[in-house]
Subunit: 298 residues, 2 copies
């Protein structure tokens, strides 16, 4: 399998999910009475081209464990998790944070619309995420709100950002880096999978399998990201490459070297696939997704 | 009634509610696994001395319409709305926004902890607000999440901030200013009252009375705020006075002069009290609150 074919295959797997979430984003992102310039900036960030990995995980987890029920709530969870992901990118790119000017192949929100608007766009996307979930009217929506808030909040994604920016102490070496990634990246990926499973009425065993799968796949995703930050080009990545290395950030490549970091990505991918065993054949699509993400070049 | 007595009376009315929400904030604000420096900065902002007006409105609305049920959910709604209010202050004070250095009588979060931490503290407080609501496990929590997200989101409080900062066009004169305040301030105050009423199982008529009361009381609150910005001292206000006038902001005082702005505050207060008529005697505490807020000097 050449690298080009691999991308095409990942693209094919994600394409229908991407189309679904982009339709729903277009419908649900902007409430009536949203000021025009704010709506424009929200759309700019949320509708930028992206893999839409987290929404795909919501749908695929729902399909892997469920019987077709809870589909409206799963669609809302997919939009919500993508909005939370997008908000985190907008705020992380701010001058006071990572100070990045390129994201998803386009100028970052603060470069396009100014810093004040970028702060407010992030706030708006985060708030809207919970609104979209709640508007389902599904009695399970409160449970999903709790999952999303815990994963995105001060003991989840924000804790990871704090640690990643060196604003709190973490353990040295690979163990500390894993803890950063568990919170900064894997928590939200795990929440995507859990929300899909919960929307579909997953039983506890299936919910646990999907949770463990997603956390390991999220860690693998980050290990591959570290490798691509060194080996990729801006055109491939849609963001500034070499940024982590230039910023003296702790990465798997910096700690382990390129080869062992690549190997770790493969090992975590294998562990993720193994975690799907309790789902039997229903876990096939999720396993394919993990393998293709492990082999991606962008 | 002298001004000093009036403050004491408002303080007495709010005191038990303030104690309740501060106990619950202390218990629910920080999840386990929150990094220490983030937890410290969250506490600094959320536990700073404040009137706790929005939580009081949650409790008082619940009491005015209800029969004692939904109290756990009302307590969570009170914490959630105060967290949203606090996040909005932290982000509004940022250098790229209103660039203020004094809030609730203390240095603002970015002055104390740096700009990156202040952005993340705001994000954390906003996310935690929805988490606290969802953790109730009450089947009505989803409805309250929707109320809070709509009021705080891009068609609510954030729309008001966009308009207030001149980032979108608004109608000229008093009409435009009212529209700014309806979204920037009154929407969240209205949501506080509605969440309390909904938690307590309000019937539609009572919910509507409380909603209209709170919106008008919120507008009155803002008119009085504009007056106090001109007449108050930093010591009384706990924030930098004269800030609005210095920043060429559109205010009721700038548009109408001090006397007519004060009169508008009184008129809106009277209208708010009138809106409580459907509640009969149960609306007495809310009416007292509106009157005392209208006569406040800080």
């Amino acid at each position: 399998m050449t690298e080009k074919q691999c991308i095409d295959t990942l693209g094919e797997l994600l394409a229908p999910h991407r189309r679904q979430v982009e339709r729903d984003l277009a419908d649900w992102l902007v409430e009536p009475q949203t000021p025009g310039p704010l709506a424009e900036a929200m759309r700019y960030s949320a509708m930028a081209p992206g893999k839409r990995l987290r929404p795909a995980l919501v749908y695929m987890s729902a399909s892997a464990v469920g019987s077709g029920r809870g589909w409206d709530l799963a669609r809302r969870a997919a939009v919500a998790v993508e909005l939370v992901h997008t908000y985190s990118l907008v705020h992380d790119d701010l001058p006071a944070m990572d100070d990045d000017e390129l994201r998803r192949g386009r100028p970052t929100a603060h470069v396009m619309f100014g810093e004040a608007m970028a702060i407010l766009v992030g706030d708006a996307l985060l708030t809207r995420a919970f609104g979209v979930l709640a508007e389902s009217g599904d009695p399970s929506s409160g449970r999903l709100v709790g999952e999303l808030a815990a994963a995105a909040g001060p003991a989840g994604m924000i804790a990871g950002q704090i640690a990643d920016m060196g604003m709190c102490d973490v353990k040295p070496g690979v163990e500390g880096l894993r803890q950063i990634h568990v919170t900064k990246t894997a928590a939200l990926i795990r929440a995507a999978a859990r929300m899909g499973a919960l929307a579909a009425g997953a039983k506890p065993d299936a919910l646990q399998a999907v949770s463990r799968f997603a956390e390991l796949a999220g860690l693998a995703f980050q290990a591959v990201d570290d490798v691509l930050d060194v080996t990729g080009t801006a055109d491939e990545l849609g963001k500034t490459p070499g940024k982590d290395a230039a910023g003296d950030k702790r990465t798997y490549v910096a700690l382990l070297g390129l080869d062992r970091a690549s190997q770790l990505g493969r090992e975590l991918t294998d562990q993720a696939v193994d975690a799907l065993a309790p789902l039997g054949e229903s876990g096939g699509d999720l396993a394919d997704l993990a393998r293709m993400l492990g082999a991606r070049t962008r």
